[in-house]
């Protein structure tokens, strides 16, 4: 049973528009959430995180929204750029620093010029 789900395996967006990547989780004990980006033949790189005490965290073009009651989070990229084309993984953790992270299956984003 997947604890972290990314139901869209792929997403295509026009350059300059907003990309919205969604993630749902089932474990109410998760209290820390992260988004990673992965290019082919490279390891994932950290993008942005959010603690369960917040409902929004923003870093430049990237904003993560957390809806705890719905057990849902989303990553917004505005404006989308061709270099954003990658696989995006949502990850969740319980219990603070150093705990195991549970990853979703990823969403492949293609930003079309």
């Amino acid at each position: 049973d997947q604890q972290v789900k990314q139901n869209s395996p792929s997403l295509s967006v026009q350059e300059g528009r907003i990309s919205i990547l969604n993630c749902d989780y089932t474990n109410s004990m998760f209290d820390y959430f992260l988004w990673y980006k992965k290019y082919p033949a490279e390891g994932p790189t950290f993008l942005i995180s959010i603690s369960s005490i917040k409902d929004k965290n923003e870093d430049g073009r990237f904003t993560v929204f957390l809806n705890k009651s719905a057990k849902h989070l989303s990553l917004h990229i505005v404006p989308s750029q061709p270099g954003d084309s990658a696989v995006y993984f949502c990850a969740a953790s319980t219990g603070g620093y150093g705990q195991n992270f549970v990853f979703g299956p990823g969403t492949r984003l293609s930003v079309l010029p």
Binding site: Q6, Y32, S51, F89, F101, F103
Partner: protein, 115 residues
Amino acid sequence: GAGVSQSPSNKVTEKGKDVELRCDPISGHTALYWYRQSLGQGLEFLIYFQGNSAPDKSGLPSDRFSAERTGGSVSTLTIQRTQQEDSAVYLCASSSRTGGGYEQYFGPGTRLTVT
């Protein structure tokens, strides 16, 4: 500074042989993780080391898999009697605390192919 490094980058082995995969974490990172990503799948947790504590081995798929971390730094993941279903990209990550949060830094992975 140097990131997480892994070696080899690619490994092709015959079914039944043993393989060792190496991870050099970022200096000073106390937490080290191993994951694997099979074709078309997400990241599957394997094992986690935190300082001198006993490792969390809950993700290891069978007793053919083992890992050690020497001196709190370099880690080796060993797969004995490899099977074709072990073919995957094996990713290592190390972790640090940053401000109020923490994040993982991943290596480039080792692509293992079992023929």
